[in-house]
Point group: C2
Chain length 192, copies 2
DNA sequence: CGAGGCATGTAACGAGTTACATGATTGC
DNA sequence: GCAATCATGTAACTCGTTACATGCCTCG
């Protein structure tokens, strides 16, 4: 539902046509999500049949037709609902990096280190890019907030990778993911 | 593909049947992802028809049948491929919280503060829970790594929310999300 | 004149969710 | 005896992706 919140919110700030909306999300808000254009277009159609937005055709010269969308009253109400939920809810954050991390000891230490180093370099670069982007915005604007929030998380990641790099050198870790399986049924019966 | 990595990786550590796998993910690895059982079952079937795992039936007493899965050689190769990609790639992290953050000024300051406070309380609680979970694991084990990584991010979030709370009090922010729209086409023509 | 941007889609597909079905066993 | 747990699924659905289609405009 967060994509819906995004689209309704942007339309609340200003009426827009689909392509404009899509470009904005692709080019300026790509750090928030990566909603693709076809998904967006079909969502706009759904929002319209749900009565949350209205569509008006317009054409400038001989350029392609534009369908400009505006929020209806129902759309505004829906927006507020979604916003409230989004702000209250502590979104469960699922970091896909962690899944690889879980199997780190299935690889040679040297290999793992090489891969993680690659990731670290890429993250450092992203951080720099984002810092430049952040510099373009005034303090205490919404875009500033989200960029800063993002940056904080990326820096947390970088710090983490630095820490991990150091620890990997020293010891060979052993897996304990499955320990619970043994514990759980240890008293009742043997598993496998 | 990360779910596939997870399942293959767990099966590499130990042969398991579907329910066992599902329970492990639900109860011990819920901070990593929230793969549901039906999804898991259908994935296991797909992995089997792709020749990455094999299935063997077993029954203990009159309990329901179990289908125990093991990695094939192809499965192991696939696992290593996925693991390499996962470790190298700096996953783009899309924080859904940020979408709400973007529209913070569409709400009364007091309201926004109330909602964010609610989120903050929930996050603090999660941090405590996770600290307890972390205490159960030895240092330098894979589970320890992932839990610690997670904790780092949640603490980053908490710090961020504390910072934001302070800043919201002072000033009324104004939206600058759309500034780029005006800029981009300012020279060519008027938008809307 | 060709590449790339503007503007909107369709079609086929895949991954994931919820709700439901089944049937046995265990624990209170 | 009733609820929860064990164990495996099916069916219908939503969301999202990729690849493709169309056609006009602008810039070099």
């Amino acid at each position: 539902m967060d994509h819906e919140l995004l689209v309704l919110g942007l339309l609340k700030l200003r009426d827009m046509h689909g392509y404009q909306l899509g470009d904005l999300i692709d080019k300026r808000l790509n750090y928030l999500t990566d909603l693709k254009k076809p998904t967006l277009y079909s969502m706009l159609n759904r929002l319209q049949s749900d009565g949350l937005v209205t569509k008006t055709v317009s054409r400038e010269g001989h350029r392609p037709e534009r369908y400009t969308y505006s929020l209806t009253t129902a759309g505004e109400a829906r927006f507020v609902d979604l916003l409230r939920d989004n702000l209250k809810q502590p979104h469960m954050l699922h970091l896909n990096d962690d899944i690889g991390l879980l199997f780190l000891n299935e690889l040679e230490t040297a290999q793992a280190q090489e891969y993680l180093q690659e990731k670290l370099v890429a993250i450092r670069q992203r951080i720099t890019e984002m810092q430049h982007q952040l510099a373009l915005h005034e303090r205490d604007t919404p875009a500033y907030y989200t960029l800063r929030h993002h940056l904080i998380h990326m820096e947390a990641d970088r710090a983490w990778l630095d820490e991990l790099k150091g620890q990997l050198k020293h010891k060979r870790v052993q897996s304990d993911i499955l320990q619970c399986l043994d514990e759980t049924h240890a008293d009742s019966r043997q598993n496998e």
